[in-house]
Each structure stands twice: as structure tokens, then as C-alpha cells.
């Protein structure tokens, strides 16, 4: 632009033509007008971020940016809101969304999806600020407004659907069925069928009415308690191990969700935390939150107190061939542990298929 102004200015001097002088004046004025209007476009703006209720790693959620214009007369135009967040390093742009017009004394909401790599892994994502950028009106110079908006969001591990063949492959089908075989009594209620349950429990009349598979539940049926043990201590931490650990966390999340849906009380045991076995959707959320914060380390710690561990079935999730033994405390507790010697990656592949 400056080059163009210089060229036209030279043309004006060279030709001595007043109309070319006018064009020169016009260009200079446009540049000046941009300088005057551009900062005003970002005045009196209020920026808010609305985070989703839950963010699951790898899923696509919407993060909303709301911009409120408190000016009385003039709307705001051509705004680009950039959201900065980080896990441990320096903040980076995790999403940007355009807000082309915010009317005077009005507000506008725009959203960006959680597609940034930062949201692909479970854990805590720390938001820092929202930067509103604008090149309004003519795009010569960019102006920005930095709005501090600190917030944390917990990214939960994803839940995959457990397929029946896998269930059978793991030998769980018969085992779980045996647990329930003795159950009889008054009808407690009806619920939706979960894959892997025996077909005899399907209540066909209700299924026909509801157009989906429904199963019966009985009052006196004892709820079985299951604890998933996820070891979080390793001799040395490698990238491969970390990768496998992540897969093991996903398996733990998927299995706990599945077991709770089929009527079990599920607890979670790691080397540093213990979640009591319980059922229900809220407990699934609790387990997921716990799994979201689980980290692998090299220092071994004492197992947390497990008051009712003897009444539980304990499933140990091993995710590496090197970690194929139970901790001594757990062995001493003589838990009925079943060791799944399946590497996390293989398991995930099976789960995904």
C-alpha cells in the first residue's frame, strides 16, 4: 500500500495533474482512515468463553466464544477470536473462530471444534486467554485485543464399545453369565439390552413395543463388585510404554463403562488411587475423571486402603509384557485376580474392530 502511495505520489508530481494529486490524497486518506477506524473496532468488546460440560479425548466438541459489543452506535466487524491453551509448554492456539459482525449493544457467539492435538489425549488442558484479532476495515494493519480468560478443562478418556467376540475371546462371557445364573425372583425393572448379555434375558414383548432390545432385571439379584487394577508404576518409562499405557487407560474406561451398564459395581485401583466400586452413570463419570488424571511413574508407592477388596473380583490390566505380575500387596491380599496378558495396543485394535 505504501509503495502504491509512493508511485501515485510520484505520478502526481510528474504529471502535475490535480486529479492524480487527488488520487494520491485518496490513497493517503484510506491509509489514515484505516489507522483511525481500526483500533475503534476493538473498543468496548467483552469476550467470554463457554466450555462444554465434558470433553472426551478425540471427540469433537464445540467451544463457544461469545463477544459482546458494548458500543452504542457502531458494530464490530471482521473479528477473529483465537483461543490459547496449553498442557505444560507454552500456550498455543487451540482454535479460532470468525465473528464477522457484532451489532451495537449486541452479542454474537461463535464456536470452534476441539480438533486440536491438545484435546486428543486425556488430562487437564489449561486455557489462558482469548485474543481477538481484526484487520478491519481494509486489511492493512492487524490489531489485537488480549482478553485473559483462565480456565481448566478435564479431557476424559474415550469409551469404545466392547464387541461380543472380544468378550467371548477374553472368556468373560461364560464367567459373567455364571454369576447371574442363580438370579431369580420378583421383577425389578426393564432396561436396555447391553451387548454380551445372554439372550434369554431379553423381554421380547417390551422389545417389540419399544422397538429396541430390552432386558429384565430382578429384585434380589446381587450386584457383583469388580475392581479394575491399572498398574501405574514402571521400572523405566519409554514412549512405547506411555503409548501402551494410554491404550490401557482407554480399555479400563471402556470396560468399566460396559460393566456398569450390565449391572456391575465397578471400582478402580491404581498405584496411587482407589475408587470404591459403585454403579450408575454418575459413577462412570467419576471413573472416567479418575482415569483422566492417572499418570504413569517410576516411583512405587503403597497401594491405597481397599476396605472391601475381598468381596470383589479384581481384573488386572497389564499393558506391557514386562509388567506381567501383580504387586506384592495385592498378592498378599489373595484377591481373585485374573491377569489379562493382552497388550493394550492389540486390545484396542480388537475393541475398535
Amino acid at each position: 500500500m505504501l509503495l502504491l502511495i509512493l508511485v501515485v505520489g510520484y505520478g502526481a508530481i510528474n504529471s502535475g495533474t490535480n486529479l492524480v494529486y487527488y488520487l494520491f490524497s485518496f490513497l493517503a486518506s484510506a491509509f489514515l482512515a484505516h489507522g483511525i477506524v481500526s483500533p475503534r473496532n476493538l473498543d468496548h468488546l467483552q469476550v467470554r468463553r463457554r466450555l462444554p460440560r465434558r470433553v472426551v479425548a478425540g471427540s469433537c466438541e464445540q467451544i463457544f466464544i461469545e463477544i459482546e459489543n458494548r458500543r452504542r452506535w457502531w458494530g464490530a466487524h471482521s473479528l477473529l477470536a483465537e483461543d490459547y491453551a496449553s498442557r505444560q509448554g507454552s500456550p498455543q492456539v487451540v482454535g479460532s473462530c470468525p465473528v464477522l459482525h457484532v451489532p451495537a449493544r449486541g452479542n454474537k457467539v461463535s464456536a470452534y471444534p476441539t480438533l486440536h492435538p491438545l484435546f486428543k489425549r486425556r488430562g487437564v488442558v489449561t486455557f489462558h486467554e482469548v485474543v481477538v484479532r481484526s484487520r478491519f476495515p481494509f486489511g492493512f494493519i492487524e490489531r489485537s485485543l488480549h482478553v485473559p480468560a483462565p480456565a481448566d478443562v478435564l479431557v476424559l478418556p474415550p469409551i469404545f464399545q466392547i464387541s461380543e467376540p472380544l468378550f467371548t475371546l477374553l472368556g468373560l462371557d461364560g464367567d459373567l453369565a455364571a454369576v447371574r445364573r442363580g438370579g431369580s425372583g420378583d421383577l425389578y425393572g426393564l432396561r436396555e439390552y447391553v451387548q454380551g448379555e445372554p439372550a434369554k434375558r431379553i423381554h421380547w414383548r417390551t422389545t417389540a413395543r419399544a422397538q429396541k432390545l430390552m432386558v429384565t432385571e430382578f429384585e434380589h439379584e446381587e450386584r457383583q463388585r469388580v475392581i479394575l487394577y491399572l498398574p501405574t508404576t514402571a521400572r523405566h518409562v519409554s514412549d512405547e510404554l506411555l503409548n501402551d499405557f494410554e491404550h490401557a487407560v482407554i480399555v479400563a474406561a471402556s470396560f468399566s463403562a460396559y460393566l456398569i451398564k450390565t449391572g456391575y459395581d465397578v471400582g478402580l485401583l491404581t498405584d496411587s488411587s482407589f475408587v470404591e466400586p459403585a454403579g450408575g452413570e454418575q459413577h462412570v463419570e467419576r471413573l472416567l475423571r479418575a482415569l483422566a488424571l492417572v499418570e504413569i511413574g517410576t516411583e512405587s508407592s503403597r497401594l491405597p486402603t481397599m476396605p472391601h477388596i475381598r468381596d470383589c473380583r479384581v481384573f488386572v490390566l497389564t499393558y506391557s509384557n514386562d509388567e506381567g505380575h501383580l504387586p506384592s500387596d495385592l498378592v498378599a491380599a489373595k484377591v481373585d485376580a485374573r491377569d489379562w496378558q493382552i497388550r493394550g495396543t492389540d486390545l484396542i485394535r480388537s475393541v475398535s474392530s
Binding site: I13, N14, F26, A33, L80, P98, L100, P137
Partner: protein, 787 residues
């Protein structure tokens, strides 16, 4: 219409408009203009199928156009550049699918406007530029919105690891992903506001930017001069031709007096002076003509300026100015001007093909207040000595190049004349024309008092086919009793005016010479015959003279403050040379014949005059805006500031310590006083604005109209309560605070308001009407109590 379509429409309109702006100059070939004008709408209408054409085809087309125009570059660079840019614009419009394509369209459209600014001076350019400005602003605003959307979308895509890499045509695909709500809103208001800001600022810049002019490069870019053209006012004009011109009513030029206090009743425009008559045609002998590089062709500036606009209807190559040699200012013609100092005329290498604008400085010679040349003092001895030297050197210099030698002599003679020649009597009639100049300058004569002998000889020659004896006899009869050549000329002028009848319908002279037929038989004719007859009679008396062709107009436009000169105002008169004085104008045509009413529909005439007024204002304010005008503006601003100071100084605010302004005035600091007043005015405006703002808020406060105003209202209530001493403790929730406050009777509604506010803020509940009213009422009550 989505954002991209809006943008493409705006860009197409911009291209169309800039091409139209260039088309108004009339300098570009019609066929090219037609295709350039047809393509933008076509490109917009066919935008969807055109997107399927591979991009490399368009790039190849650009290359082909460039190669095709290479030979034209050698002939005319300006034309070749214009053609290339127009072609580039057409191709970019057809292949428009990337934002970067818009940049080339901006550049090309601006170049077209730039070229138009160089090629035209028409006020139509002003209107066209206004449209261009608005379209450009709108396009840039839409562009800015699109860039914002693209940046966001590209960042989002870049964040997705699985996304494919961006391809060349991805802009459009990305934009199509924009939701319908992202249309950018209405841009009418920002477009108009920004347009107004730019326009206002550019006027300020235009006035302030220092005027410099080198005219070095662009002169060479202009078209080559065409071959010599014949025109109505030529250096070789047949007797009777002026009469033919007088049948044409088209406008030849406009003349705006710039210096006169009162507008004159008529304007006499001198075009070409013809010295040689062969019995049927007048000719100008080319004694000395040379090219003036910068359009200046006089040795001294003279007091009165007139702004001239020659119209294309005038096909003469001669430049018109009033009465005697003049100076050209703000001349917009790129080529040199040819000048003949002996004839006192200037002309262009070829007739202008477009409207031509210039300012001419000249001395007006009033025929009614002429003075006998004898009353003027003779040249001083030093002047006579210089003339003698010039005459003696003439022979030596003429040996090499007679024309160049003649010019050198003439220019030296002009230098002599330019010295002051004080009239013997104080000629009030002469001086009354000049407003700003003292008598000695006003009386400065602008014509040489010495006539170059070969030119004198040409100005005395009578064609052989005329009967010299009959002419001499008639001349002596007419001038009987006249004491000197001046009185003889006056007598002949008067005789012709009184005894001959003006008519455009001429009787057939048969075998006789038309001049003799006019003088001795028919006694009817038009101005050309009058002028020729007077010239021949004077020459018979050995008085050098010549015929001048030009215009004489009385059509004054009150709205524009200028004369409209039509072709039918073409006129001929006589210039007589008096030794020791120079040339003087005589017009033998009866004055009554020169008053020609305009036969035009009154409505059309009024419209024409309004248009002419607009055109003249455009020229005065834009085209002709010069460094002198800049100085005038600066003086005006300073004068205004000092006038404020003076006004302040004239007021008397008596105080205990004496007059406040007296001290300022005595300190001579009127400027400071002006600034102080300005500052006070600004403060006053700010205070008034705030008051009005508060009032309007108060009026609006009786009813909360919009839901987004509710938090502000609630915050204002809290603020008002704080002023009354009700401050919420950190341990209190808003509702606990409201319960505490509501214990006081007048503030009881605050509890309900807080409950409503809770619902609105956290439950997304729309407030009932009574809630709005209660909030407004409470806030109003609190405000009154605070007062």
C-alpha cells in the same frame, strides 16, 4: 446470498465501474471498451460453470495477451499498458476463485482510474470516482471479512492432523463451508461512513499536499501528434468562413473571469491574427514560431486572469485569450505550445480532441475607453538606443537563420516593451480594470511599439486585384479632418458601423471582389467583411493593421459566473499598429449585431446553466487548484483564526482586575485567544453531549427494552445502593444482601428484583414486564434520592 457471492458481485461491479470511468475519457478504443464492459456481468452470471475451467488455462491466457501486446509497447506505452491491464482484469474476473485474484482486480481497477485521471478533466470523473470509492470500500470490507473467515478455517483445518493439505482452489471450498449466519451483516453503514471519512480526509490532503510538477516522464507517454488539421479558425481562412461558423450554436468554450470585481458585459476572445490578404483569403505569415516546453508564451504576467475551457466542438488549434498577448497558467495539455510573438498568438501542434482547460492572463482593452496613442510618452532614450541596437544587429543575425534571427530581435523588443511606459495623463479608464495593481503597472502596455519591417510590410500589403485608388479615395473621404492615424482609424470604424448593414445572408458579388462588392455596392455583410474592409482602407492610408479572428460573447451565466461562448459568437475585428504605442483593437462591426439572444428552451437553458456551473466549480476547486490557491486557503485559515482573536479583542469583559481581553490584545496574542475559545467550545460540546446522553438514558430507563440491558440496569441499581451506603459484604450472597436491603420500605422491591435477576442470569428465564418496570422504577427512585 453467501459471503463469497456478495464479494464476487462487489468485485465485478468494481471492475465494471472502473472500466466505465476510463470509458468516459473517450481515449480507449470502443471495441475494447465494449468487451471490457460486457465481461464483468458475464463473469458474475457464469461464475459457477467457469469455476470448472482449470486454472492454468487462465494463466496461459494472461501470457498470450502479454505476448500479443509486446509490439504495441514500442508504439505507445500508455495504450499498451491500458490494454494489458484491461485484458488482465477480464481474465481475472473470469477465473475468479481465489482471494488473491481480487488483488489483481484492485490494482487494475485503480490503474484504470489513475489513467482516467491523467486523460480527462471532466467533472464526470468526480462522480465516477465517488462511485468507485464506495464500491472499493465495500469490496475491501467484504475482503476483510473473507480473510477473517479463511484464516479461521485454515487454522482449524491445520489443527486437524487428518486433513488433506490445502490445494490451490481451496479458498472457495473453504468459504462454502461458512454457515449462512456468517454473511458479515449489512455493510451499508460502514461503507458510507468510511467513504465519507476518506472523502473528507482526501479533501484536506488535496488542499495541503504541496504542488510540484516536473512533467518529465509522462509527457513522453502521450499519443503522437496527428497530421495537421484544418479548422474553423486556422492560419489560412477564406473570406466568409466566419459567417458559416456563426450558424452553429454549439458551445465552443467557457470563460470565467477570476479577477474582475464585476463581471464585464461581454468578452472578446482573441484567437488568431492574420496579416496577409490575397483578395479572397486571409493568412498568417509565420515569422517566428517556436515551441514553448511548458506552455508559457508571454514574457510578463499581466493582471487579469480568466479560466478557459475549450470544448471539443471547437476544432481550432489556436488558444484563445483576451485581447493581447497573455500568459498561460495551469495548462493541462501535455505537448508544447507553438507561439508567434509577432502575431501575439499561440496554438497547439494539433487541435485538442477533448476538453481543454487552462487559465490565461491578459490585459483587457476596452474599446469604449481607448486613448489616443499620442498621449503616451515616447520611449526613453535608453529604450530607443536598445531598439536601434536591435535593428542594427538584425542584418547580422538574419544571415544564418532568418526565422531564428527574427525571433531574437522580437524577443528583445518585447523586453523593451515590458518596461514601464507611463501614460502622459492619468488614464482612469485604463486603470479601472485592475484591482490589485498600481497605476504604473496597470498602464504597462503589452505590445511592442516597434514593428519588425517584414511584418510591417505584410501588414500594409493590399492585394493587386483590389482597386487601390478607389480604396484610397474612400479612405480619404472618410478620414477627412483626422489629425493622426489614431483618429483616422476611429473615423473608419465609426463610418463602417454607421453606414453598413450587418447580415449573414450575402448577395452574390458575381465577378467582383467580395470586399469591393461589400464596400461600394451591397453595403451588407458580416463581421469578416467589416474587418477586411477596414483593414484595406487603413492599409490604403499606409497604416499597418491586421485582422483578428476570435469570439465575442455576451451570454453570461449567473450561476457559474462565466461566459458561455458558442460557435455562432465567432467574430472578426481589426488590430491597428501605432508607432511608439503598439497594437490597438478596433471593431467596425455595429455593436447591435453582436447582441445575439439565445434561442433555446428555457428549461433546457436553465439545466445547461446549472450543469455549466457545476462544471466550472469542478474546474475551479479541483482541476485548477494550484499552489496559489493553497496559499489562499492557508491565508483564509489564518485570517479566520485571527478574526476570532480580533472579535475577542473587541469584546469587553470587565472584571475587578480590568479587561481580561485587553491584556490578551495588548500582548498581541490573538492566536492564543482563538485557541482558548476553540477549547472552551469543545469542552462545552462534551458537557452538553454527556448531559444529553444521561437524559436519554433516563428516558429510556422508564422501560427496559432489551434483555441484554438487564445486567446493566442491575449493576446501576447496585451502584446507586452503594452510594447510599448499602454495600454487599464479601460473605453475603446477592440474595442475602437483597433481603437485608429490602427491610427498608422504599427498597422493598429490590428483593424481588434480585430473585428475578437470579432467574434471568442463571436460569435463562425471560423476565416478565412487571420485572422490567420494577427495575426501572427502583433505579429512577434511587437516582432521585441520590440527588
Amino acid at each position: 446470498m453467501n459471503l463469497w457471492d456478495r464479494f464476487q458481485l462487489s468485485i465485478s461491479l468494481l471492475a465494471l465501474w472502473s472500466t466505465l470511468t476510463l470509458a468516459t475519457t473517450g481515449e480507449i478504443r470502443l471495441s475494447l471498451m465494449a468487451s471490457a464492459l460486457a465481461l464483468p456481468p458475464l463473469a458474475y452470471l457464469l461464475r459457477r460453470p467457469l469455476r470448472r475451467v482449470p486454472w492454468w488455462i487462465w494463466d496461459l491466457a494472461v501470457l498470450l495477451v502479454f505476448v500479443r501486446l509486446m509490439p504495441v509497447v514500442r508504439q505507445n506505452l500508455l495504450n499498451a499498458t491500458v490494454y494489458f491491464f484491461i485484458s488482465l482484469q477480464c481474465i481475472r474476473l473470469l477465473s475468479f476463485r481465489r482471494l488473491s485474484d481480487a488483488y489483481s482486480i484492485y490494482v487494475v481497477s485503480f490503474f484504470q482510474v489513475f489513467a482516467a485521471a491523467l486523460l480527462t478533466t471532466s467533472p464526470a470523473f468526480g462522480l465516477a470516482f465517488l462511485g468507485y470509492l464506495l464500491l472499493l470500500v465495500r469490496s475491501l470490507l467484504l475482503h476483510s471479512s473473507l480473510v477473517t473467515v479463511l484464516r479461521a478455517l485454515k487454522r482449524t483445518r491445520a489443527a486437524r492432523e487428518t486433513s488433506p493439505p490445502l490445494r490451490r482452489t481451496s479458498d472457495l471450498e473453504l468459504i462454502q463451508a461458512v454457515t449462512e449466519e456468517q454473511t458479515g451483516g449489512s455493510l451499508l453503514r460502514p461503507t458510507l461512513v468510511l467513504g465519507a471519512i476518506i472523502l473528507a480526509l482526501s479533501v484536506v490532503f488535496f488542499v495541503l499536499v504541496p504542488r510540484l510538477s516536473t512533467r518529465r516522464v509522462l509527457q513522453t507517454l502521450g499519443p503522437p501528434p496527428p497530421s495537421e488539421m484544418s479548422s474553423a479558425f486556422d492560419e489560412n481562412i477564406e473570406l466568409g468562413k466566419v459567417g458559416t461558423i456563426q450558424l452553429d450554436t454549439s458551445v465552443a468554450l467557457y470563460v470565467k473571469p477570476l479577477d474582475e470585481v464585476q463581471h464585464p458585459s461581454a468578452v472578446r476572445l482573441r484567437g488568431v491574427a492574420l496579416d496577409t490578404f490575397d483578395g479572397k483569403r486571409w493568412q498568417r505569415t509565420s515569422w517566428a514560431s517556436y515551441r514553448e516546453p511548458f506552455g508559457m508564451f508571454c514574457l510578463r504576467p499581466y493582471p487579469l486572469r480568466k479560466s478557459m475551457i475549450i470544448q471539443p466542438a471547437n476544432t481550432s488549434k489556436f488558444l484563445f485569450g483576451e485581447t493581447f498577448p497573455f500568459n498561460l497558467l495551469s495548462f493541462d495539455f501535455q505537448q508544447a505550445v507553438l507561439v508567434d510573438h509577432s502575431a501575439g498568438v499561440a496554438w497547439l501542434p494539433y487541435p485538442p480532441t477533448k476538453e481543454l482547460h487552462y487559465t490565461v492572463v491578459s490585459r483587457i482593452e476596452d474599446l469604449e475607453s481607448r486613448d489616443d496613442p499620442e498621449h503616451y510618452s515616447r520611449p526613453s532614450s535608453r529604450q530607443r538606443r536598445t531598439v536601434a541596437q536591435a535593428q542594427s544587429s538584425r542584418t547580422d543575425q538574419a544571415t544564418s537563420d532568418p526565422v531564428a534571427a527574427a525571433f531574437r530581435i522580437i524577443s528583445r523588443e518585447f523586453e523593451l516593451v515590458a518596461e514601464k511606459l507611463t501614460p502622459s495623463n492619468d488614464s482612469q479608464q485604463t486603470r479601472r480594470h485592475f484591482r490589485h495593481y498600481p497605476a504604473d503597472v496597470a498602464a504597462t502596455r503589452v505590445t511592442p511599439d516597434y514593428l519588425f519591417p517584414p511584418y510591417r510590410e505584410a501588414c500594409l500589403r493590399i492585394p493587386e486585384e483590389l482597386n487601390k485608388n478607389a480604396l484610397l479615395q474612400l479612405a480619404r473621404e472618410i478620414t477627412r479632418g483626422a489629425k493622426n492615424p489614431y483618429e483616422q482609424a476611429l473615423a473608419i470604424e465609426s463610418y463602417l458601423r454607421r453606414n453598413y448593414q450587418y447580415s449573414l445572408e450575402l448577395a452574390d458579388p458575381g465577378t467582383k471582389n467580395p470586399v469591393e462588392h461589400f464596400l461600394f455596392e451591397s453595403r451588407r455583410g458580416h463581421c469578416e467583411y467589416y474587418a477586411t474592409a477596414m483593414a484595406m482602407l487603413l492599409r490604403a492610408l499606409e497604416i499597418p493593421c491586421r485582422v483578428v479572428n476570435g469570439y465575442y460573447s455576451t451570454e453570461w451565466n449567473n450561476l457559474a459566473g462565466m461566459f458561455t461562448v458558442r460557435q455562432r459568437d465567432a467574430h472578426s475585428w481589426v488590430e491597428v499598429f501605432f508607432d511608439g504605442y503598439g497594437w490597438m483593437t478596433f471593431d467596425p462591426t455595429p455593436p447591435g449585431a453582436l447582441q445575439r439572444p439565445v434561442n433555446m428552451n428555457p428549461i433546457l437553458l436553465a439545466f445547461t446553466r446549472y450543469y455549466d456551473a457545476l462544471k466550472m466549480r469542478w474546474y475551479r476547486a479541483v482541476i485548477d487548484f494550484s499552489i496559489q490557491d493553497q496559499r489562499l486557503v492557508a491565508h483564509g485559515v489564518f485570517a479566520a483564526v485571527f478574526a476570532i482573536g480580533d472579535t475577542l479583542g473587541s469584546l469587553r469583559f470587565e472584571s475587578g482586575a480590568g479587561s481580561i481581553t485587553e491584556e490578551l490584545a495588548t500582548a498581541g496574542n490573538a492566536l492564543v485567544a482563538g485557541v482558548a475559545i476553540l477549547f472552551l467550545l469543545i469542552v462545552l460540546v462534551v458537557i452538553l453531549r454527556r448531559r444529553l446522553h444521561r437524559r436519554s438514558r433516563g428516558r429510556r430507563g422508564l422501560h427496559v427494552r432489551r434483555s441484554h440491558e438487564i445486567p446493566r440496569f442491575y449493576a446501576e441499581i447496585l451502584s446507586a445502593l452503594r452510594r447510599r451506603g448499602y454495600i454487599r459484604e464479601p460473605s453475603e450472597t446477592p440474595l442475602e444482601f437483597a433481603t437485608r436491603v429490602a427491610k427498608t420500605e422504599p427498597l422493598r422491591p429490590f428483593h424481588d428484583i434480585t430473585v428475578w435477576y437470579y432467574g434471568f442470569k442463571y436460569g435463562g428465564v425471560n423476565l416478565p414486564k412487571e420485572a422490567h418496570e420494577a427495575m426501572a422504577q427502583l433505579r429512577e427512585n434511587l437516582r432521585k434520592r441520590n440527588k
